[in-house]
Amino acid sequence: MNTAALSILCIFATCLVGWNILYALSIRRGLEGFSFLELSGLSYLFGMGAISAQMFLMGMSGIGYTRLNILLPWAVITGLNVFVAVLRNKGGYSAANNHYGEGAGPAPKEEKAPYQDTKYDPVGAKQPPAGRFRSISSLAMTAALFCFIALQTAYNIFRALMRPIESYDAVAIHGLKAKVIYLAGGINENFFGNISSFFQGAHPDYPLLIPFSQVWFYTFLGNFNDILVKMIFPLFYLSFILVFYAVLKRITKSRFSAVLFTFLLATVKQFSDYSTIGYADMETGIYFAAGLFYLYLWFSRKKMSFLAISLISSVFCLWTKNEGTLLALINMLVFLFYVLANIAKSEKKRLLLFFPYAAALICVILAWYGFKEFHGLENENFNLSMIGAGKLRAASGSVPAVLYEYQKQFFGFKKWNIIWILCFLVFLAGLKAAFSNNIKYITAALFLFALGYSAVYIFSDVNIKFFLHSTGSRFLLHVLPVAVFWMALIVHEKGFIKN
């Protein structure tokens, strides 16, 4: 079989793995309520995350990498899922279990958001049903935006495949680790020590989702290919664009609104550029956003699969980049805020789900940091031992420089178009909405992001001006999808967009 066909098969196998995870998560209801596009997007994101984690665990257990070794466990899960699907189609599963709901007890229908039956409901009262348009011009605009997104995606894929892995972090960190692991046929005890001793600046402490995604691709192909492997990056972009659109459409019930904000996100130059070069920043933002979006959906719909998707996305977020730990903790804190705000209401039983969510996240974080501690892996740019009052005092002198960097990004049209200006204007226009209903949790997430990242900059050993200059525009990618989502929610809440 030729390499191109194998590459496509690899992507298909990855999606199949992700699809099976999703199916297993929604085992009682199947995948009802999810659109095909949303499932496809999530499947790829979950497939890559799961396989990369699996390969890491396999490597640490001394199991070599072959297509069969990697896919065998998933074949078993696929078999089980098929079995359940067959039972369900015969009507045997739900009858045998005497319930069809996902939560505790027989609750077959989704709960509505608290605002859905109130004056805040902008869906039923103000909008026509999903998929219907008020005018031909609205239909034309929607179609045009879909075309623009498709063009941008195609352009990203083209750009990615035109060059081998070549950008700085891609060759110095992620690509290099992938090559080391693949050529060694696995990851051994000495891996981290070797990376640390022989490859200056390769950051042995970084999480390994991106390197292992590449190793998986090489393993499936059966050879090292530094050009074709780049197809995995724009596919992260495409997958997330599908998820972003589907989530927005589910919330706003407006195709135009969903496609408009998806278009804004997809065409932010920095976002699309980073889908072509093999860095981990876009992927970190993607998993963080998916974690928060599905948590937000769970707040209003209480569908268990949403919570599970949020949890898994948060785990993959911390498996993508060190900053992912902070982002996963933000998701957890947002959940905690929700619990505290709703504890007096009559849904205590569901609020208890915070504990397994938090416990699972903390377990993964502790396991990863315990592993790093055991192998003596420490980040030289930032670690907890750097936090101290002295740094805070020193940083106060850098405020003008920091503000200068911020405004550079804010007005950095070349990278961000006018997205941050729009965010600011939407915030001003929808100040009340930003702190209303469940939107306030997304607002809280944005504040926590600003607070957390500022703390990292302030307490880092790296010169704050240099650190901001070299990472600021990349780190903003971590929050960009959430910021656009937040804008969409406010605009929707204010009823600015008619279908």
Partner: protein
């Protein structure tokens, strides 16, 4: 209606900027020409064009002459330069170290180091030294 108009205006501004920056990349920064060249090339050609023809030629030369798994160092390239990073990536499983068996000299005619001798030469500025 006012909101709808504002959204349309914003969308127009957005699209103008979006297309402008794509066009800038393609025409002003010359990416269109680059893509044309890259699209016509095979994998080797793509690598050569991306790394820089001259540097890639040297990397290939070094890879051909060195054993697959060995220790080398560069002379003539900054430790943290992008070219160096690409070189380290390309030459793996050879490993760059401060105690090398080979020194890959790039654009430093006449360079010599104690304990090393000339090993192979691509041209006057690009050659390899080997530990005696």
């Amino acid at each position: 209606m006012a909101a709808s108009k504002i959204i349309k205006i914003i969308l127009v501004i957005w699209c103008v900027l979006w297309l402008n920056f794509i066009a800038r990349d393609l025409y002003k920064k010359g990416l269109l020409g680059e893509y044309k060249i890259l699209a016509q090339n095979d994998a080797e050609g793509k690598r050569a064009h991306t790394y820089g023809e001259r540097f890639y030629e040297f990397l290939k030369f070094a890879k051909d002459y060195m054993p697959r798994e060995t220790f080398y160092d560069f002379a003539g390239k900054d430790d943290f330069s992008l070219e160096m990073r690409r070189g380290v990536y390309y030459l793996y499983p050879g490993v760059k170290t401060k105690h090398p068996v080979y020194i890959l000299v790039y654009d430093r005619p006449g360079y010599l180091k104690d304990g090393f001798e000339y090993f192979a030469k691509l041209d006057n500025g690009r050659f390899m030294l080997k530990r005696r």
